[in-house]
Amino acid sequence: MEDKQIVDLYWARSEAAIVETQKKYGRYCHYIAYQILYSDEDAKEVVNDVYMKTWNTVPPHRPDPLKPYVGMISRQLALDAYEAQHTQKRGGQVPLVLDELSECIPDNANGIDVGESLALRDALNRFVRSLSDRTQNIFVRRYWYASSITEIAEEYSMKESGVTVLLLRTRKKLKDFLDKEGFVV
């Protein structure tokens, strides 16, 4: 079923909307949540919450396409769950990803306010768009999807060391970019 038809079902308040979303994007949402939570059970819970949140937000929203919309909800909810459970040490990619990103900005205990959050979001978009197409995809796979280096290397037919070096160089570019944008004091 096309995304537009699924969204129409949400607007018509038909529960078939959830069934169709599950069929089309359930696996995708689970992948995103699992990469962050590293637990099948927790990821399944998040995916159920994704359906609920989509049900509650469509309408008023009319997402087109639907895939990144549910994907973003899944990532957001998984991150919330990750932070809530973070007292216990766990595996997965997120600790590695956070460690890598810490090279781009000196850790500062002060949180960021809404204005800084929006500015950072805008800067990240501009930075990613400045990269070549392939580097964009690999960077987003690592730092949006939290995919493992092994998986990225396999999908892009690269050596793991090639992916590692490419990401290292891109993080260096991000650090310089954020520096120029005034994010690093």
């Binding site: 956070l98 990103l101 990240l124 978009n125 964009q136 070096v165």
Partner: protein, 216 residues
């Protein structure tokens, strides 16, 4: 601000960036005008190749020599920007690359970028309209047989073609997400070992690239 803030705000990337990087996202396909030029050659070759590709399915590449750990990266905008050495015989110059192709040139640590003896490798990655193209050129001192044995080819997956007088080994690898195959070609020309890969379901495409590279 912490790395967590960056990771969280990455969540606000534009939807098109998220979509095209999604796991298993297939490449867009289109007709390349070069297909017409090489179509006849490819059609003939693929009849022969089809049998070999059947036995190639399922083999797994092992890790190869790590070309990234050695050498100093030297970013260039175009293969034409390379110093005019090797008598202009760097076959990559025959490729039709898109403007967004990543071209990385590596030379030996402590060496001179203008000295061909210090050249290590050239790596091209291009998302062309008709699929992904990756090419590694290894300069000098690289044994093509070692490369073949240690990289994508196993003995029963090897298929040799002679294209414009050059012996080329070709194989197919099914990628893990089952959307498309990778076709590999490895050959040696003028002391340079070429490792060319095309992501595609169409075996003609590797022949098209080989046709461009080895045109007379």
């Amino acid at each position: 601000m912490t790395s967590k803030d960056i990771f969280r705000e990455m969540g606000g990337l534009d939807t098109d960036l998220i979509m095209k990087a999604a796991p298993g996202m297939p490449q867009k396909k289109s007709v390349n005008k070069a297909w017409i030029k090489w179509g006849v050659i490819a059609a003939c070759l693929c009849l022969v190749a089809a049998g070999a590709f059947r036995i190639a399915v399922g083999f797994i590449p092992s890790q190869t020599t790590d070309i990234f750990r050695e050498g100093i990266p030297y970013e260039i905008d175009s293969v034409y920007a390379l110093p005019a050495k090797y008598d202009g015989k760097i076959l990559a110059q025959n490729l039709e690359l898109s403007e967004t192709a990543d071209i990385e040139f590596y030379y030996k640590e402590g060496g001179n970028v203008n000295d061909t003896d210090d050249w290590y490798s050239l790596i091209i990655a291009d998302d062309q309209e008709d699929g992904k193209l990756l090419m590694h050129c290894m300069f000098g001192e690289t044994d093509v047989d070692d490369w073949k044995v240690s990289s994508v080819f196993t003995k029963d997956a090897t298929k040799t073609e002679v294209i414009n007088g050059v012996s080329v080994q070709i194989a197919r690898l099914e990628n893990s997400l089952k959307y498309e195959y990778w076709y590999y070609a490895i050959f040696e020309y003028d002391d340079i070992v070429y490792d060319v890969r095309v992501q595609s379901n169409d075996p003609n495409e590797i022949y098209d690239v080989l046709g461009q590279l080895l045109e007379e």
